[in-house]
């Protein structure tokens, strides 16, 4: 049997100021899955995602606790892991760092020293993936939030990652932008881990859900079952989405 897409074993992390961020998180995500990571503010969702491609911890000590397709996330494998795991940050303005959309999407491939012709082709493909053909010459400053978000996604998809870690992907989107993003995500061929407060998104797109609270996994299971468990949801600062309440299950 092949290794799972993502395997986390007893992951622990303290913030630089000493607070406990992650307190023994273990979870496994199989190939082809889309899973939701839900929980109150400060539960450690973003911190967990940043571990997936080695942004955290800042220094590596001891045995690795995360494996991507069986490859441990450690200092020696970081560059390879960062190519395999695409991370979408919460604020698009943190991620869009070039003067034009085109340059921004080319940022990753240029780091990997791809030949210029290949970069060109890959950027074109990535723009098409997110439905932004013809936006290449614009400055990120002129885009709407939804468009910025899609450029960020293109900037990640351009290197064809096998795992996508998305931090609050629908946070700043209007309903149209949200629908659009959902459709785009559905068409992407990668394992997806979505950290979000958008519980309807989890109900609609995720097979399984993990509830994270206080740096620990408090519950895990099929997304619809986890979300429909009202006492569980309320205990962790969440709520059962309306689409599940009215019996209109999926």
């Amino acid at each position: 049997m092949s290794a799972p897409a993502v395997e986390i074993r007893d992951l622990r992390y303290r913030y630089p100021d000493g607070r406990v961020g992650l307190d023994g998180v273990s979870l496994t995500v199989e190939e082809g899955e889309t899973v939701g990571l839900i929980g109150p503010n400060g539960a450690g969702k973003s911190t967990l995602l940043m571990h997936l491609n080695g942004i955290l911890p800042d220094a590596y000590r001891g045995a690795p606790s995360i494996f991507i397709h069986g490859v441990p996330v450690e200092k020696a494998t970081l560059l390879r892991i960062r190519r395999e795991v695409g991370l979408l940050f919460e604020d698009p303005d943190d991620q869009l760092l070039s003067p034009t959309v085109w340059e921004d999407i080319a940022f990753g491939p240029r780091q990997w020293d791809w030949p210029e012709a290949e970069v060109e082709a890959a950027v074109g493909r990535a723009l098409a993936d997110v439905g932004l053909e013809g936006f290449g010459r614009l400055s990120p400053h002129h885009l709407s939030n939804g468009e910025k978000q899609r450029v960020c996604l293109a900037g990640i998809m351009v290197s064809r990652p096998k795992v996508l870690a998305l931090d609050e992907p629908t946070r700043a989107l209007d309903p149209r932008g949200r629908r659009r993003l959902q459709a785009i995500l559905g068409g992407l061929d990668a394992v997806k881990i979505i950290a979000t407060h958008d519980l309807e998104l989890v109900a609609e797109t995720c097979g399984r859900a993990f509830v994270l609270d206080g740096g620990k996994i408090a519950a895990a299971g099929p997304a619809v079952e986890v979300l429909a468990d009202e006492p569980l949801m309320l205990a962790h600062g969440l709520e059962t989405p309306h689409i599940l309440k009215n019996g209109a299950c999926r």
């Binding site: 960062r82 940050f89 604020d91 943190d94 991620q95 760092l97 070039s98 003067p99 034009t100 340059e103």
Partner: protein, 203 residues
């Protein structure tokens, strides 16, 4: 906002805008190099340089008010530096040389930035194989001037909406607080940007 103005101007339409960004950048640098190196005694050269610059500005349809405002902002700095020359023997001539040369150089940079999108200028430097750390830093600056400008504007608006009484002392105090706040926000953002860059393979 100022950064938006230059952005809009640089994407305008004129014979100068249609020239290739590389050509314009190279021309501006050749101009600056010549102005800096040619001795000021050769007065005709500087009259010609000034005329050339004015011609380029006119052909590029750069609004005079836009240029003058920015020149006026920078002129005190130029005057202060050149003013030091007045205390040296033959000071007046040196002062004139420094003031004229600096003004021409600043004018050339302003004209370039008002007729050429920043991305074009950066692409030119990248093609020249200028070390990537320099081009990356310039690109980040261009990009985040916009973000910081927006942030400052939001902070100002929020402050104004809660300010009921005026007074100079109060205004200065809150401006100082805003500057401090912006600094903290920028530092935090810098940290997040670095992480986002690392996540995409930055080494």
């Amino acid at each position: 906002m100022k950064h938006e103005r230059v952005d809009r101007l640089s994407r305008g339409e004129s014979p100068v805008h249609r020239l290739s960004p590389g050509l314009k950048t190279a021309a501006a640098f050749a101009f600056i190099l010549a102005v800096t190196l040619i001795p000021f005694r050769v007065g005709a050269v500087f009259a010609a340089a000034g005329a050339l610059l004015v011609l380029a500005i006119a052909a590029g349809r750069v609004p005079a008010a836009y240029l003058l405002k920015r020149l006026l902002l920078l002129e005190p700095v130029i005057a202060a530096v050149a003013g030091l020359a007045l205390f040296q023997p033959g000071g007046a001539a040196r002062f004139a040389a420094m003031a004229v040369k600096s003004t021409l150089c600043v004018g050339a940079v302003l004209a370039l930035s008002a007729t050429t999108p920043a991305a074009g200028i950066l692409a030119f430097f990248r093609a020249l194989r200028v070390p990537s750390i320099l081009t990356s830093m310039a690109a980040l600056t261009v990009r985040y001037v916009h973000v910081l400008g927006d942030e400052l504007r939001r902070m100002r608006r929020a402050r104004r909406s809660r300010t009921f009484r005026g007074g100079k002392a109060r205004a200065w105090r809150s401006a100082a607080a805003a500057a401090g706040h912006l600094f903290v926000r920028s530092t935090e953002r810098a940290e997040r940007i670095y992480r986002a860059m690392a996540a995409r393979g930055w080494r």
